[in-house]
């Protein structure tokens, strides 16, 4: 993700070597997701997610605007993903790096394009008024896994949020305050969860690329789940898989990086499903309170 934020060559070697032996610096196993801590705010739509040292706060809000002209029957759902230097001095203010563009596109694909939020239900008066649901992701602290953490945050916050009741009679649109009428929950169609793998290649590049060809079983490359910042910096590429509990893949993105065997991708997808199941249950638990 980021440049190797000040890692010395020795440290780099130490970390990759131990990873090769299946040892991670924080004691996790290679396919273990960090513990996720989800805190709900007092106000609906505010969620604070901690994934190890990574911290992301998501704020969902709603306002009434005019729908897009080409989609008069749909509400608007926007996700704002600007990473500021508060998350780490290496993020520049106001100028998104290529990586940040990828992060924001990924989150958008995982949640918006997969249709997690029912946007048709946000329409008030077709072509004239609709809800604009906005999720502001505040990246607070970075230690890898921004995509995974913000996806959890957004999907939890969307479920936590509720919008005021609105009634339409003729031209008149009445918005009731939360005291007058019970606010309405948004309709969430499914719960997508992102799992990011960091790819490593312990051998020479040539072996990785040519290795599969000569029938050598041990291709060598391996993937670790939920990399920290240091691990992410050392990795040769990432693979993000978004799934929901219904065993649907919402999105896969492996944007370049180390070429990976098809079988390994399938293996990652299987692992991801296990993590998705666990996280979906955890989110449900948290929201029950």
């Amino acid at each position: 993700m980021v440049k190797l934020a000040g890692l010395s060559l020795n440290e780099q070697e130490f970390l990759t070597d131990s990873l090769k032996q299946g040892i991670r610096s924080d004691g996790r196993s290679l396919d273990q997701f960090r513990d996720v801590e989800i805190t709900l705010g007092d106000q609906p739509g505010y969620v604070d997610v901690r994934l190890g040292k990574t911290r992301v706060a998501v704020r969902v809000s709603g306002s009434i605007t005019k729908p897009y002209e080409d989609r008069p029957f749909e509400g608007i759902f926007t996700i704002s993903t600007e990473i500021g230097p508060i998350a780490g001095a290496f993020f520049e203010n106001g100028r998104p790096s290529d990586e940040e563009v990828l992060v924001s596109r990924l989150i958008e694909k995982a949640i918006k394009r997969s249709g997690a939020l029912d946007v048709e239900g946000l329409c008030i008066v077709a072509g004239d008024k609709c809800w604009n649901i906005r999720a502001d992701i505040h990246f607070m602290d970075f230690d890898g896994g921004f995509i995974d953490a913000s996806c959890i945050g957004v999907i939890t916050a969307l479920q936590h949020f509720s919008r005021p009741e609105v009634t339409v009679s003729g031209e008149q649109v009445v918005v009731y305050s939360t005291d007058e009428r019970e606010p309405v929950k948004l309709s969430i169609l499914h719960v997508p969860i992102c799992v990011t793998f960091a790819l490593f290649n312990p051998k020479e590049k040539e072996e990785n690329i040519k290795g599969g060809a000569d029938g050598n079983e041990e291709a060598g490359e391996f993937a670790i789940v939920d990399a920290t910042m240091k691990e992410e910096g050392l990795s040769n590429g990432t693979l993000t898989i978004t799934m929901n509990k219904n065993k649907e893949i919402c999105q896969i993105s492996k944007s370049g990086g180390l070429p990976a065997e098809g079988l390994m991708v399938m293996d990652c997808a299987n692992k991801a499903y296990g993590i998705v199941e666990k996280l979906t249950d955890q989110i449900k638990e948290v929201l029950k309170q």
Partner: protein, 230 residues
């Protein structure tokens, strides 16, 4: 409403704090002093970069205005000549804002939000102080910010969120456990000169109370950081 604060909440930032006050929750992260880009470099002092992000939406002129105010104020407090050619970056992220049902805004009442610039400034300044302490950045004196409100009945309330005739933001510098001087003030509404002075006087007292609280917090954080002290 009472101030609720934590120090050292972020890992990547050099110093950080989280402050809840008057229903507003702010996280402040300070990076630096660090190398400046050529454009920012000042030969004799440090360049202060203040970035404020709102809870909802993109930063607008309102945030720029607040950034300017805080930057000017901090420039007078931080001992800049200790950090020549360097940058200190003060990031303020507003997380929650409770008072005006802000999760349901419609286009029309956005302008009403200018009213609580003072409340946000108040919270930001206190949070910036704690983060500066956490980041070990030298300052001339300690400071804290209080907000007072004259209600329509004419009584002076501390931290009033209620309907107000006028609001007064008062920042005092504190040196040697004594109120030293007024560093920054911002007043909104209609009030007489006398009332302003009354508010300032009250501010001096409250400032000491708040200071002892903030001091306790910062001493605690220093103890944690430098184990040998305890």
């Amino acid at each position: 409403m009472e101030l609720d604060a934590k120090i050292g909440v972020l890992n990547n930032a050099g110093g950080s704090s989280e402050v809840s006050l008057n229903g507003i929750k702010v996280v402040c992260g300070i990076n630096g002093p660090m190398e400046a880009r050529p454009r920012q470099e000042l030969p004799t002092t440090c360049y202060l970069e203040v970035i404020i992000r709102p809870a909802i939406g993109n930063p607008t002129v309102r945030e720029k205005y607040m950034e300017d105010k805080i930057k000017n104020f901090l420039n007078s407090v931080i001992i800049g000549n200790l950090y020549p050619r360097q940058v200190i970056q003060v990031n303020l992220q507003i997380l929650e804002k409770k008072n005006n049902n802000s999760s349901y805004t419609s286009d029309s009442d956005e302008s009403a939000a200018t009213e609580d610039v003072l409340l946000e400034l108040n919270c930001c300044i206190n949070s910036a102080f704690l983060a500066l302490v956490d980041a070990n950045i030298s300052i001339y004196k300690a400071f804290n910010s209080n907000i007072f409100t004259y209600t329509h009945k004419g009584s002076l309330v501390k931290d009033g969120l209620s309907e107000a005739k006028s609001r007064h933001l008062v920042v005092y510098g504190i040196k040697n456990n004594k109120v030293d001087e007024l560093l920054y003030g911002e007043n909104v509404g209609r009030f007489s000169e006398k009332k302003l002075f009354m508010a300032l006087e009250r501010g001096e007292k409250e400032s000491m109370i708040l200071h002892s609280k903030l001091k306790e917090l910062s001493v605690e954080s220093v103890k944690q950081k430098f184990v040998y002290l305890s």
